[in-house]
């Protein structure tokens, strides 16, 4: 039980290193955003396995918080690079269409 937890933690750490490499060499912005999102998911997995290895229950709470923050950060980065502003409500469809027409010429 301890051995498989350690092996999974090691494999997830290797996958995190690969994601970090893609984050630095990624040719486009969306490659980097994708690598960051996947890196956050793997961080959540690593925290869960770490809580099982070290016997610390509070790491699961940190993993929950990290999953939510990762999702919000990904959507915020995509929104910023699409509209060049974070102040626009995504529900205002008319303003979205106007800004799409303005920025996507």
């Amino acid at each position: 039980m301890e051995l498989i937890n350690f092996l999974v933690a090691l494999g997830v750490a290797v996958a995190m290193a690969i994601m970090l490499a893609r984050l630095f060499v990624g040719p486009t912005l969306y490659d980097r955003v994708l690598a960051m999102n996947s890196f956050g998911t793997k961080t959540v997995l690593f925290l869960l396995v770490f809580s099982a290895i070290a016997g610390r229950q509070d790491a699961i709470d940190i993993a929950l918080l990290y999953a939510l923050i990762n999702f919000v950060a990904t959507v915020a980065i995509l929104k910023f690079f699409r509209y060049r502003s974070l102040e626009i409500a995504l529900a205002q469809m008319s303003l979205r269409k106007a800004l799409d027409g303005e920025y996507e010429k």
Binding site: I4, G11, A15, R22, T28, N37, A63, V75
Partner: protein, 122 residues
């Protein structure tokens, strides 16, 4: 060997198998993100990791959890990952598509039916 020990070893075996399979998915997804030629194919590889690998590893951790509070929190973490990571992948794909990224199709096209059996179709 009574039934308690049999159930204990069965849970052990299922937990180890599930975590090993999840680790295989995670490593395969990371290799795909590093190796595949296109943004959309890389996103496919990352999606494999984020759903299947994460859920299998969390299921293996649930099976070896010591108490019910840990099981509840692991289930909540699995549910959050299961809801948010396909949504985030869809948002990235939608943003890349709206920004004008085209999938790379000219290198790995399938062979024409008249040339079937003559080569790799490059």
């Amino acid at each position: 060997m009574n039934w308690g020990e049999i159930v204990h070893y069965a849970l052990y075996a299922v937990s180890v198998g599930s975590m090993a399979l999840g680790l295989v998915f995670v490593i395969a997804g990371a290799t795909g993100v590093m190796r595949l030629p296109d943004f959309y194919t890389r996103m496919h590889a990352a999606g494999v990791t984020d759903t299947m690998g994460a859920e299998l590893i969390i299921m293996g951790l649930i099976l070896q959890a010591p108490d019910w509070q840990t099981v509840a929190k692991l289930l909540l973490a699995g549910l959050l990952l299961f809801l948010t990571s396909p949504t985030a992948t869809h948002a990235i794909a939608n943003a890349a598509h709206r920004a004008g990224h085209k999938p790379r199709l000219s290198r790995f096209h399938p062979p024409h039916p008249s040339e079937a059996g003559k080569g790799e179709g490059q």
